[in-house]
């Protein structure tokens, strides 16, 4: 059964990549379409999630190494970032703090539990780091992943539109803000806008993950 789940997941991934290439719009993001497809498959067949867990353990073995690998594009894009280091760091730091604070405050305004608030605090950063950072501040890794995916899809679908609305035309600032609030899913959209947007977005996604994980254990208790 586990072999079947692994095959089904890889199959869903390839199908959704084909779909994304055929219709290159943010809503066809492979993570979203594959997940919907697999959940539909499992629920139609009346298979509970716990049966899928062994397959998940096998497939996520390389997630850690893959995240560590982001150091390579980060290093390769370092020159673009170094040139405008101060504006980039200032925007990234204040932007990250404001997106964390507003997520936690909106969650608490809706009367959501402490666990949900802690999971919401990490929603802007890349999934593997978000899972670990959420646990450190008392959040739930699975709920954190849900928020991360929601934030990624939101940033990819509405980010470019919102930035144009705010009259931000500078490609560097556009890439920086999309990578800061919507990690890899947003970055995949920023790449389509242009090479500067893509490079800055992937660097911003790495840096905001590092910054968030370092600052959150101290920041979250005072929010």
């Amino acid at each position: 059964m586990t072999a079947f789940f692994v095959a089904a997941t890889i199959g869903a991934y390839f199908l959704s990549r084909m779909l994304a290439r055929r219709f290159p719009i943010p809503l066809t993001t492979p993570v979203l379409t594959s997940t919907v497809l697999l959940i539909a498959l499992l629920s139609t067949a009346n298979i509970p999630y716990r049966d899928y867990i062994p397959a998940k353990e096998i497939m996520t073995f390389l997630l850690g190494p893959a995240t560590v690998s982001l150091a390579v594009p980060l290093y390769q894009n370092w020159n673009v970032l170094k040139e405008r280091f101060f504006p980039a760091v200032a925007g990234l730091v204040v932007g990250t703090l404001s997106t964390i604070a507003s997520a936690v405050w909106i969650a608490s305004a809706f009367g959501l539990s402490e666990t949900i608030q802690a999971s919401a605090a990490v929603k802007a950063i890349t999934t593997p780091v978000a899972m670990e950072a959420a646990v450190i501040v008392g959040g739930d890794p699975a709920i954190a992943v849900a928020f991360v995916i929601m934030a990624g899809i939101f940033g990819a679908v509405f980010g470019p539109f919102v930035l144009t609305l705010f009259k931000i035309t500078d490609p560097f600032s556009r890439g920086l803000s999309i990578g800061t609030v919507s990690h890899g899913i947003g970055t995949s959209q920023a790449v389509l806008e242009g090479p500067i947007q893509g490079a800055v977005s992937s660097a911003a996604m790495g840096l905001s993950a590092i910054f968030t994980s370092l600052v959150l254990p101290w920041l979250f208790p005072i929010l």
């Binding site: 925007g91 507003s102 600032s173």
Partner: protein, 123 residues
């Protein structure tokens, strides 16, 4: 073709070793940072000091980051056991994600845009 695959697997094995080393360091020294972040920082340090040349791991790293999305799928499938939570809090979650993302986008882009323009005027 075969040689390329062996090289790719070799590079991915090295990257896995870096990650496992950072997992060990984090748990051994009780560090308050995620292991992935420590691993990234270690690699950046090795590249910038020239201790490891980027081409030794480049192919494997670009393969893994290209398919980074794949690893999130099995994790996202776990959402199916949270159906109830999302049904009863759907509106609150949407407002929270959309609102905080909007604020983050505007603040980040606004500051970076403003400071860059100032710098350009000075030149």
């Amino acid at each position: 073709m075969k040689k390329e695959w062996i090289m790719l697997i070799g590079q991915i094995t090295c990257l896995t070793a870096v990650y496992q080393l950072s997992v060990f360091l984090v748990s051994f020294f009780h560090l308050p940072v995620p292991a992935t972040v420590l691993g990234m920082a270690m690699l950046l340090f090795l590249f910038s000091k020239g201790l490891v040349q980027i081409r030794f791991v480049e192919k494997g790293a670009l393969f893994l980051t290209k398919h980074l999305g794949f690893f999130f799928i099995p994790i996202a499938v776990s959402l199916m056991s949270y159906g109830k939570l999302f049904q009863s809090n759907g509106l609150a979650f949407t407002v929270m994600i959309a609102g905080s993302s909007l604020i983050g986008l505007a603040v980040t882009a606004g500051i970076s845009d403003c400071l860059s323009q100032k710098r350009r005027f000075r030149k």
